[in-house]
Every structure is written in C-alpha cells, then in structure tokens.
C-alpha cells in the first residue's frame, strides 16, 4: 500500500494540465521526469510481488528480482544486453487478449526463445538498431541489435513468460 500510494501521488501530479500538455517550465519538466522515474522504478517491487502471487510463489524463500527496462524507447536495456540468459515476463494491461511483437536490445547474433507458458520454442529474428539511434545523446547502451519475437494471445490482465538464451557459440562473446 505504501509503494502504491507513492505511485498514486505521482499519477495525481501528472494530471495537472501543464504536465498533460507540456506547457510547464523546464525546471518543472525536470521535476516531473524525476517523479515519474522514481515511482516507475519503485513499481518494480509491486510488479515482482504480483508475479509471485500469480505463480503461487508468494511464500517462497526464493528471491527473484524483476526489472523494468525504462529505456526501451531508445533501444536500451542493461538487463537484456548484458545477459546471455534471461527471462522476460510480458504483462497485458488490456481487458482483452492481445498478440503483439516484442523487441529487446541485445548484443549477440543468435538466441533461442522459449515460450515458458506453453513450453515451445518460437521463431525469433535479430534486427540491427539503426546507426542514428546508437548516436542519441545520453544513450549509454552497448546494444547494437534487437531481438524480435511474437507474443501470441497474451491473456487479458495477465502475463506470459519467456526464457531467452544466447546460442552456445555466442555465449562467450555476449558475456565478454
């Protein structure tokens, strides 16, 4: 509740007409960015707890951390580009099923994507990130490619999990 309350407060501030339209002063815009970042970052804990609950692991002693990738808009994610093996949980906030494509910034050239919910390997594709994106001021990512795969039938207000691993000949290079 405490974490949610902070999130709610940030959402309240963001409904001010200046925040909606972008007519705030620059200093205020910077403060809005700070508020949004802090609260979306805190939301990771809420998300992790929800996933624990849904997977009936609420009382488990295993400690798993789930991370948000807040820079996917500039094709940057420290957790996917620095790991050769990672799990991805995709949550659908709509009240109807959705099929969509997911793009994750990576370093390797070849990956296996396992749909953990249905336990099947799925087709994926590596696409280069355009040079101009790599040059965005302030972007510190090492990722030069994106891993693309299709997520079929995400349940309404539910999630699907995927395991992603760099193919063995690529692992050393990716980790390196």
């Amino acid at each position: 509740e405490k974490e949610l309350e902070q999130f709610r407060e940030a959402m309240g501030v963001m409904q001010h007409h200046d925040a909606v339209t972008g007519t705030e002063k620059q200093l205020v815009a910077d403060d809005y960015a700070r508020l949004l970042y802090e609260n979306v970052f805190n939301n990771e804990n809420i998300a992790a707890k929800s996933i624990y609950k849904w997977s009936n692991q609420e009382n488990s002693t295993l400690e798993w951390k789930t991370y948000s990738c807040l820079e996917l808009n500039i094709s940057s994610c420290v957790y996917t580009e620095n790991s050769s093996d990672f799990a991805v949980i995709i949550y659908n906030s709509q009240s109807q099923p959705v099929s969509t494509y997911v793009r994750l910034p990576v370093n390797g050239n070849s990956y296996e994507v396992l749909d953990s919910t249905d336990n099947v390997k799925i087709v994926s594709q590596i696409v280069p990130i355009p040079e101009r994106v790599l040059q965005i001021p302030g972007r510190e990512s090492k990722a030069t490619k994106e891993l693309v795969f299709r997520v079929n039938d995400l349940p309404p207000l539910g999630y699907k999990a995927y395991e992603i691993s760099a193919k063995s000949d690529m692992k050393e290079e990716t980790l390196g």
Binding site: K25, A47, V88, Y91, Q96, G138
Partner: protein
C-alpha cells in the same frame, strides 16, 4: 539477397526517386500513398500585439503558410527476416526513420527519430510528417480530438459560423489524441494514422494527412510559461522517437474494419509491460 522493397504480400513499399517512402497496396483497392517529412518556420515577434505573437509552447503559429521541404539523402538499407521487414532511412543529419511491416500484421509502422533540431540559423522549426494518399477526401478529415468523440473536420470551415482564416495552417490544425483519418468521397476507402502520443494534425490538401512530431522554438509566446519551447538535454536540443501506425483499405466490411482499428488504437496506447530477470544455468530450474 539484393532487394529494393519491403511489404510482404500486402504492400510494395519502396523509396522513390525523391527519397520519399512510396506505398502501393497489393489488393483490389488500388490505394497508394507517399510519406515525407517537412517543416514550418515558427513565427517570432515581440508579443506586444496579437499580430506579433510568437509560436511557442501554447500555440502553433508558422511565420508564413509556406511548408518547407527537406533535401533527402539517398541513404537507406533494407532488412528482411522471418518476422519483420524494415527500411532504415536517413533523411538528413537529424531526421531518420524505420518503416516496418510485421508478418501477420496489416499495419505499416513509421518509427521516426527527429532531432536535435538545428537552430544555428536562429530560426525555430516545427517538423511534420505527411502521408499523401490517392483518396479524394473532399476537404474533409476526422480527428479523435479528446480521445473520446471522433469529429468531422472540414478544411477552412467551421460548422456554426462563416469562417475567414487569416492563418490557414494554424487555423486548420486540430488535436489528435490517438488517431486521424480520411474517407474517399466516391469509393468505400479509408486511410488512418494512429499516434503513440497526442499530436496536432491537419489535412491541407485532399488525400493528405499531416501530423506535427517535433518543435524547437526560440521565443516565448506570452501565454504564461515565460520560456521559449527550446528544450535541451546533454547540451543539445531534444531528440524524439515515436511511432505512427498506418492502416487503410476497403471498408465494404465496415464492422471488421472498425474492430481492427479499435485494436490498433489500444495496442499503441496500452502497450504491454515488460519485466526482465537475468538468469544463470544454475538458477534457471528454480525460476521455472
């Protein structure tokens, strides 16, 4: 494999002689459109009287009604694979885009990357993208304005009074929360653009949809903020990246067409959340 187009079975998407993206529909509709980038120069004045008010955070007001074209670099690459086909295009030093078609999807994505907008010439600029189709829209277009009620707009016209526009560009710009579209006057054809954020849009010529995607201005507009809309990060102007979905075609089966449009709107506005957990070989079984 050497190739100069993308689009799968549904479209033929190429870069034309002027560098613009040309799209031909491979169905019976005979629809086509061209996508291009342009800019307006922002008005600047001393704000003492209305005529001298500058373009700024609150208002869009171009200096003249002239839309400026870019000289396109002939610089693009094509990526094709089992899931997605893409054109990566550099328009100039600070405008580039990816045009994309996914397998099993009917939309065309335009993922634009604009900025930092250069201001060495001390001139504020407002960047737009234009989709010029072969539809005869008869001066009419539709915007979802506040995200709830889609309204019909008619160029140089207001429904309840006789309009005389002294600033025809600004006077024809309307809010677009998630979508705007055109319909053909004679054929059952519709052409829609979906946005990933609120933007301003218009249709200055029949068949055209125009959306503003980035602005950098050097004067305050005297409506209260007291600052020019000249956002800076990392010691340079802002870079923006965003997506338009373009979807159009025959509306003989209007229910199915509308349903697809509604799905696209939601898909772009309420994208799924992604959470990542790094794994090792020793903990992967536990994670499962």
């Amino acid at each position: 494999e050497s190739t100069n187009f993308i689009g799968g079975d549904l479209y033929t998407i190429t870069v034309d002689d002027s560098g613009h993206i040309a799209v031909q529909y491979n169905d019976q509709s005979d629809m086509n459109f061209v996508q291009s980038f342009h800019y307006y120069e922002g008005a600047e004045g001393n704000n003492k009287v209305y005529e001298n008010r500058s373009s700024g955070a609150y208002i869009f007001r171009p200096k003249t009604s002239e839309i400026h074209n870019f000289v396109y670099e002939r610089d693009y690459t094509i990526v094709k694979g089992p899931l997605v086909e893409e054109i990566h295009q550099n328009v100039n030093e600070w405008i580039s885009q990816v045009v994309r078609v996914y397998k099993q999807e009917e939309r065309i994505e335009f993922e634009w990357l604009i900025g930092p907008i250069p201001i060495d010439d001390k001139q504020g600029k407002e960047i737009v993208t234009k989709y010029t189709s072969n539809l005869n829209s008869n001066g009419e277009f539709y915007t979802d304005s506040n995200g709830r009620e889609t309204l019909k707009r008619k160029r140089d016209h207001r429904p309840t009074w006789n309009l005389r526009l002294y600033e025809p560009i600004a006077g024809n710009y309307y809010p677009v929360t998630t979508k705007m579209y055109l319909k053909d006057k004679n054929k059952p054809l519709k052409f829609s653009v979906f946005t990933d954020r609120s933007q301003g849009g218009t249709s200055m010529k029949n068949g055209e949809l125009e959306l503003m995607i980035h602005r950098r201005l050097l004067n305050d507009d005297a409506f209260g903020v007291g600052e020019a809309l000249n956002e800076v990060a990392y010691n340079t102007g802002l870079v923006v990246r965003g997506i338009h979905y373009v979807y159009g075609g025959n509306t003989k089966n209007l229910d199915a067409f509308t349903l697809k449009e509604k799905k696209l709107t939601l898909e772009l506005a309420l994208r799924p959340s992604i959470f990542v957990t790094p794994l090792t070989q020793t903990n992967i079984d536990n994670w499962r």
